[in-house]
Each structure stands twice: as C-alpha cells, then as structure tokens.
C-alpha cells in the first residue's frame, strides 16, 4: 500500500466537500417554491403580517357580533398558530383546525354559528381557496363571503359566514 502525501489526500477530499457545498447552495437553495435569501422576503413577511392583521380584525369582529361563533379553519391553514389562541379559544370564541385525519362532520360545518376560514400564502399558493369556491359552497351551504388579498394576489383569505349569522 502506497501512502498518499497528506496534503494531496486533503486536497482531493476538500475539493469534493467544497464542490458538494457549492452544488447544494446553487441547486438546493430553492425548496418547495421558497428560496433562501430571496429578494422578496421583506415583502413576503410584510404580506404575512398584513394577512394576520386582516384576519384577526374580521374574526374579532365576528366574535364580538356573535360570541357563540365557532371558527373552523380549513385543512391547509397556516395562520392559526400565529393568532392569539388559548387552546381552542380565539378572541373568546371557539377555534378549530380541521385536518385530513380529523374531518369535522358536514353537519357541524353547516351549524349557524360556524365561520369558515381558508387562507392562501406563497407556501400553499397552489391551494388558493378561490379556486375551491364550489367545494366550499357545497360544504357550507347558503353563505356570505368576505374576501381579502394583497395587491400582488399572492396572499389572501376567504371567510364564509352563514346567512343566518350575518343576518343578525
């Protein structure tokens, strides 16, 4: 067995490691539609903060108008952890996230006090709830909608209130 000079061995291995490091920073810096050190990150954060403010305002208003309201968030919700919840309570009303394995029965969705919330952000842009209007409408029954989106249309939400709730 012939020994390699340590400097040579180190150079070869270092080249491999640095090459891999470089390739990763070029090709793995964009994952799932989000890019590291993206130029739009300040705007994206501002949009998310705005979404939080707008939804909070609508939900607080809905809860003040009808304290027995229950907010049901759709399966793809990202915002609920960022709202000031205490367990399953938000602004004094009930708030529940529906997940694929914990489906909320349709009868509950159609209860008069339920307010349905769906949002979209750049992270789940492909799930823009506006394209699911028909599905939501069937799930929800007769309703009124509150829609909001940022000027660039990348972030927004849709809220459904039953006509029985909004009439009061």
């Amino acid at each position: 067995v012939r020994a390699h000079p340590p400097a040579f061995l180190f150079s070869v291995l270092a080249f491999a490691a640095v090459a891999y490091f470089g390739v990763e920073w070029v090709f793995a810096s964009n994952i799932g539609g989000s890019a590291i050190f993206s130029k739009s990150r300040a705007r994206d954060m501002a949009d998310f903060s705005l979404l939080n403010t707008e939804i909070s305002r609508e939900l607080r208003h809905a809860c003040q108008a009808k304290p027995s309201s229950a907010f049901f968030f759709g399966d793809q919700d990202v915002l609920l952890p960022y709202l000031p919840t205490e367990g399953d309570t938000l602004f004094g009303c009930k708030a529940v996230l529906e997940l694929a394995p914990t489906i909320i029965p349709i009868q509950q969705w159609r209860s008069c006090n339920v307010v349905g919330v769906w949002e979209f952000t750049p992270g789940v842009a492909h799930l823009n709830p506006w394209s699911f209007d028909q599905v939501h409408a069937e799930k929800f029954g007769p309703h009124v909608q509150i829609r909001w989106q940022t000027p660039d249309g990348k972030t927004g939400f849709i809220m459904y209130e039953h006509t029985c709730t909004s009439a009061k």
């Binding site: 067995v1 180190f10 270092a14 640095v18 994952i31 990150r41």
Partner: protein, 336 residues
C-alpha cells in the same frame, strides 16, 4: 499561548458552524420555507400539551388523540413551550437552536471519527447547506431528530454503540425517518459483535438509556392499542397521502441519484477496506455509512421536501465521513 489557540481552533470552528446555521435560519424566518400547514398540524397539538398536559388536542378536532405520527414531538415541543412561552415564535426559536446545536455536535463527532480537525471540517461543510437551514426554520420533528442523530454519531465515536442505537430508536418516537438508519446500524453492530466474539460489554449507562427508550416505546404502543381503530383510520389517511406520489417519480429525483452514488461509494470503499484490512476490520467504520444511507433511503421513499435534511445533508455527510475515515486509515496503514 500558541498551544491553547491551536487547541481551541476546532471548537471555535464547530461553534461558528452552529452560529452560521442559526444566523442563516433567523435571516430567512417565515420565507424559507414559507409558513405552511404542517406547522399548524404539529404546533397546535404541542401547544395543547403545553397548556393542558394531555394528548387530546381539541384545537385540531382530535378529542381521542392523534395517531398519524408518534407523540414524541408533541411532548418535546409542548414541554419546551411550557418552559419558554406558548407561542409559535418560541417553537421556531427552539427548532432553530436545536438544529444549530446538532450541527455543533456533528462537527465534534466528525472530528472524533476522522481523528483530525482538518478532516472533521470536511463532512461538517456538507451540513452548512440550505436543507439544514430549511429544517431549522420548520416547526417540525426534523429539529429534534437531527439532534438525536448528532448524539448517536457522537456516542458511536466514543464506541458507545448501544447508547447510539438508543438515540436512533428514540428518534422513531418523533417520526419514522430514522427507522432504516436504526435498523441498519443495529444490524451492522450486532454482526460485528457476533463475528468478533468479543466481549464488548456496553457501559451500564447505555443499558439505562436503552431501558428508558424501551419504556417510552411501550407507553406509545399501549396508547396505540387502546385506540387501535382510530390509529388504523389515521394511518389510512396518512398512507393515502403518501401514495399520492408514485415511487417512480420519487426515484427520478436527484435525491435518489445521490442515494445510488452514496451506496456505490460505500460499496467501493468497503471492498477496498476488505482488501487492505480483511473482512472484519473492513466493517469497523461501516455503521456510520449505514446510518447515513438509511436516512437517505427514507428521504427518497418519503419524497417530501422536509426530508431533504436527511437525503441531501446529514445522510451524505455520514457517508462522506466513512470515506474520509477509510482513506485516512489506509494512509495510516501505508505509513506504518
């Protein structure tokens, strides 16, 4: 003075590596990745645990518990939230610090395994990459699992193999991602012990660690047995979701190519070591490579972007450590 600076060089590098990951993660908070529904799915049950101390989170409509994923993350993150504040910012901070700490531990483990600071630096470089930063910014189980993996490799570097295996098995209580790594590691270590017929008695503390992990597993199994129908229903939803993407499309991804390359490189290195040192000695450093390949395999089969930390960073770093260690041993043998 000069001596102490030299001694501090590597620890400074390791800590800087951790800081680098933490600073990059903090600079890309909420944008790499964007907030996504997985965080709600995992944060809300943890928040419930922190507030009420039970595993029946009504905030996700699960009065009888969640069974699509083990409860490790809920309990771990719930405890952290209880200690540091019940909000998502705390959860994100905990995940960032956990991944950064794991990078520091990996760096020390790699130095021990390669036996040299300069060579330990090289596999650590593979961890200073976007998938690690991506994982730091997710409120998901990749953070505690990366810490457990780092702990496992560090224990392995001290030849505490039962302890290392305990850490890998504990990881499965957070997510099945370390499953193949634990199986592969256990198989290679057990084979080594049997073939050598040596009395490599594990340290007593390793047995205690293993006993604790087994007890935690028993608790989880009892909970599953108590809610078996719900477990089946939740797992059916999970299985359907996983099967939505075909295996063929997963195998067409670069992660699969990397797994193939890693397996080939490990095979060639193993054959080479066998020629140099004989069969038994050739298996010495193999557990680390098997651990890495197991993680990469799960990343490929799982096919989700959150698994890139395994298939693009930690897995390749482990395989690279194996190759570096082998070449250094070869060189050492040649010099002697």
């Amino acid at each position: 003075m000069n001596f102490s600076v030299k001694k501090l060089r590597y620890p400074l590098f390791a800590i800087s590596a951790g800081l680098f990951v933490w600073i990059c993660a903090a600079s890309n908070r909420l944008t790499f990745p964007y907030p996504w529904n997985d965080e709600s799915m995992f944060f809300l049950p943890a928040d419930w645990w922190a507030r009420y101390g039970n595993l029946s989170p009504l905030n996700v409509n699960a009065p009888n518990g969640i069974f699509w994923v083990p409860d490790g993350f809920t309990v771990w993150m719930g405890t952290a939230l209880r200690l540091f504040g019940e909000n998502i910012q705390t959860a994100r901070g905990v995940c960032e610090v956990t991944v950064a700490t794991s990078v520091v531990i990996f760096a020390f483990a790699f130095r021990r395994l390669t036996g040299s600071g300069w060579y330990g630096l090289l596999p650590t470089l593979l961890l200073l990459t976007p998938p690690i930063i991506f994982a730091s910014n997710m409120v998901r189980m990749e953070a505690p699992i990366s810490l457990l993996l780092a702990g496992a490799i560090l224990l392995h570097s001290f030849n505490l193999r039962v302890g290392a295996l305990s850490f890998l098995i504990l990881g499965i209580l957070f997510h099945p991602a370390p499953l193949f790594a634990a199986m592969g590691y256990a198989a290679v270590c057990a084979s080594l012990m049997i073939m050598r017929r040596r009395n490599d008695r594990p340290h007593w503390s390793e047995w205690i660690l293993l006993a604790i992990v087994v007890a935690l597993f028993c608790a989880e199994f009892i909970r599953i047995a108590d809610h078996f129908e719900l477990f089946k229903a939740h797992m059916a939803v999970q299985a359907n979701r996983k099967l939505e993407v075909s295996l063929v499309s997963k195998l067409k991804k670069p992660q699969a190519l990397l797994l193939l390359l890693g397996t080939a490189a490990t095979g060639v290195t193993l054959a080479y070591r066998r020629r140099l040192f004989g069969f038994l000695k050739s298996l010495d450093a193999l557990p680390v490579a098997v651990m890495g390949l197991g993680l990469m395999l799960y990343g490929v089969l799982g096919g989700e972007m959150s698994y890139n930390i395994y298939s693009l960073s930690i897995g390749p770093a482990c395989v690279f450590t194996y190759i570096v260690t082998s070449l250094l041993e070869r060189n050492q043998a040649a010099i002697q």
